[in-house]
Symmetry: C2
Subunit: 342 residues, 2 copies
Amino acid sequence: MKKITIVDVAKRAGVSKGTVSAVINAKNSVKPSTRDEILAVMKELNFRPKGIARKLKNGEVDNTIGLIIKDLNYPFYTSIASGVKEYANSKGYSVIITSSEDNHESEIRFSHIFSTKDIKGTIIAPVVEGTSEIEHLFKLKMVNYPFVLLEDVRGIQANVVAIDNLKAIKKAVKYLIDGGHTKIVHFAGPHKSSHTQERIQGFRHAFSESTLVFHKDMIVDIGSGYDESFTKTMEYFKDKKKEDYPTAIVCFNDQQALGVMIALKELKIKIPDEISVIGNDDIFYSQIYPVPLTTIRAPLQEIGRKAAEILINNIESSQIMPIERVVMNTEFIIRGSTKLLK
Amino acid sequence: MKKITIVDVAKRAGVSKGTVSAVINAKNSVKPSTRDEILAVMKELNFRPKGIARKLKNGEVDNTIGLIIKDLNYPFYTSIASGVKEYANSKGYSVIITSSEDNHESEIRFSHIFSTKDIKGTIIAPVVEGTSEIEHLFKLKMVNYPFVLLEDVRGIQANVVAIDNLKAIKKAVKYLIDGGHTKIVHFAGPHKSSHTQERIQGFRHAFSESTLVFHKDMIVDIGSGYDESFTKTMEYFKDKKKEDYPTAIVCFNDQQALGVMIALKELKIKIPDEISVIGNDDIFYSQIYPVPLTTIRAPLQEIGRKAAEILINNIESSQIMPIERVVMNTEFIIRGSTKLLK
DNA sequence: TTGGGTCATTAAATCGGTTCAATTAGAGAA
DNA sequence: TTCTCTAATTGAACCGATTTAATGACCCAA
C-alpha cells in the first residue's frame, strides 16, 4: 500500500500536477467541473498532501517553538508554559507543547521530532537521571539548533534558566531554625529530579550554618504525587511515638504538601500547632486548602518568559550567540501553615 | 540576510553537499580533518539544516498526532490529554499539544500548522462562537486530513467525541428538585462555550419536567475562572436578603465551584446546611477542599482515549472512514457539598 | 609495474509538493 | 475567416536536504 502522491491524483484525473495543486490551495483558476473531478479523485484515493513538501518550496514561515515539559498535570509546568506562550506570542511565535512524563526516551524522541519539523527552537525541562545520556543535546548543538534548558544538565554547555532551589530551601529551613524549631524533616521528591537533589542540599546547608546537627533520617523519601505523598506520610507517622514527631516538615512541592496536609488531618495532627508545613512552588490550588500554605514561590511565568526570550534571540540571530545562564530567585511566602516556637 | 543552506556550507568548506550531509548525520565515512573543517564552517555560518527537507527524501516516519485544547491550566483538558497520550503511545504515536486559549484565530492557526508539519492528525477542542467560521475545518476535510472534535460544531460533519452535558445537568438538578429544593440557581460559564449553553439547557429541561417553574433569573452569569467566580459570587450575594438566598447552586464547573465555595465561606454561609453546591468535571483538586464537592464526573481520560482511537483509525486507514459521533455519559457523584431538604 | 582493496569524496537522482511562464482552447469581435 | 482576448491548463524548474553508484586517491602485495 504505497503512499498516494499528487502525481497519482493527477494521473487518475487526467490532469497535471499543477492543476491538482491549484485545487488543493483553493486557487480560483480552476474550472469548476475539473475542480469537482479532482476533488472526487482525491476522496477516492484518500489523498493527503504531504505538508512538509508543500512548505519546502514556498518557504512559508510559521515561527513555531517547542516546549518539552515533564508533567502536563502539574501546575508548576503549565505556569511556565503560560510564560513561554506570553512572550512567544508577543513576538509572533506559536508554541507547541509536549510532556516527556519524566521519561528520558521521550525527551530524546521529542527533541528529535521537533528539530526535524521546522520548529525553530525548543525549551526543554530535561530529564536528568544520574549521568544520563546527553547525546541528543550534543546533536542539537552540532546542527546549531536553538534550545534552552530549564535545569542544569551536567556535561553540557547550554542556555539555562533555572531556579535557585538550594538558596530557596535554605532560607525556609533557616526560618524554621531561627524560629526555634529543632525537629525538622524534609520530605524529598522523586530521586531523579535534580530539583530533589538541590533541595536536599539546601536543607543540609541550612543545618551546617546553624548549631543544629544534620542527620540523614531527616530526609524522608516521599515523592511528589498527591496520592503517593498521602500514603507515604501515613506510613511515616504510623509507628512513630508522638514525642518523636517532627515539629516542621519542609515539603518538596505544593502537591506533595497537599497530600501531607490531608494525611495529617486524617491523623488528627494540627497544622501549624503541632506541625508546621512548608510547600514549594506556590501552585494556585494550595490557596484553597483551609490552612493556607506557607510556601516558596518561584517566578514561574517569568522563567517561561525569560527562556522564551533567550530562545527567540537565538533563533533570530544570524550568528551563534554566547550561552546564557539565568538563575531565578524565589520568594518565601509565609502563610498559615507554619508557626514559630519562639 | 538569506537563509544558509547546505550548499553554502559545502561551497565555503570546499566540499560537496554529500559530505556535509554525512557530517550532519554523524556518518563515520568522513575523514576527521574534513569533518572538523565542515563543523567549523557550520558554526561560522550558523547553519541550521532544514528539518523538513531532511525528511522529504528519506521518508522517515515519526507518527505524531496533535491535540488542540483550550486551556492548559485547567485539569479538564489536561485529563483528556492524558487519555489521548495513553492510547496514542500504546499505538506508537507521539502527541504534541497546544492551547488555543479559547481563541478562534489560534485554533485556525494551529490547525493549519499541524496539517502542514507532517503531523498525522489532530484532536481539536473547537472554539465555537455563535456561528463561528469553520472554513478551516472544511479545508482539513478537503485534503482528507484526519481530525476529531471534542464538541459538536454546527454546520460540519466530522468525527466527534462529546459529553452529554444536557443530560448530566438535568440529572443533577432533578436530584435537587426531588430532594425538596425549590430555590435553585445555575451559575453559568463563559458565553461562548457550547458547554455553557448545553448546561443551561439541561437546567431548564429539569424544570420543565418538574412542577417548578423556570425563571431566567435562575441563570446567573459567573464565568469559569476562579477569581472571577469568587468576585461575581460576592456581588451576587451582596444586596440579597437572606430569605432570597437560593438553597442550591449548580455550578458550571469545579473551578468555578471552588471560587463559589470560598466566597460562601467568606460570607459565612454554611455548605451544605444553608446552600448546597454542585460542581462539574470532578477535577482532582476539588477533593482537597474541606467540604468534598458533589459533582458530575465526565470520563475525561476515556474521552481522550476514544478520540485518539478514532483519529488513529482514520490515519491508518487507506480509505476514507465513515464519520463517528460518540457521546459519553457522565456520572453524578454525591459528596458532602449537597444536602436534601426532605 | 600492475592489480586489488580500502577509504574519502563527488555528482546526480530523488522526495512531493508549489510556482510561473508558456501554451492551448474557446468565445467574441472585426 | 481571421484576429484578439481571456480563462484554463501544462510542464519544467525549484525548494534543501539525503542517498548511492561511481570515481579518485592511496597503499600494499604480487
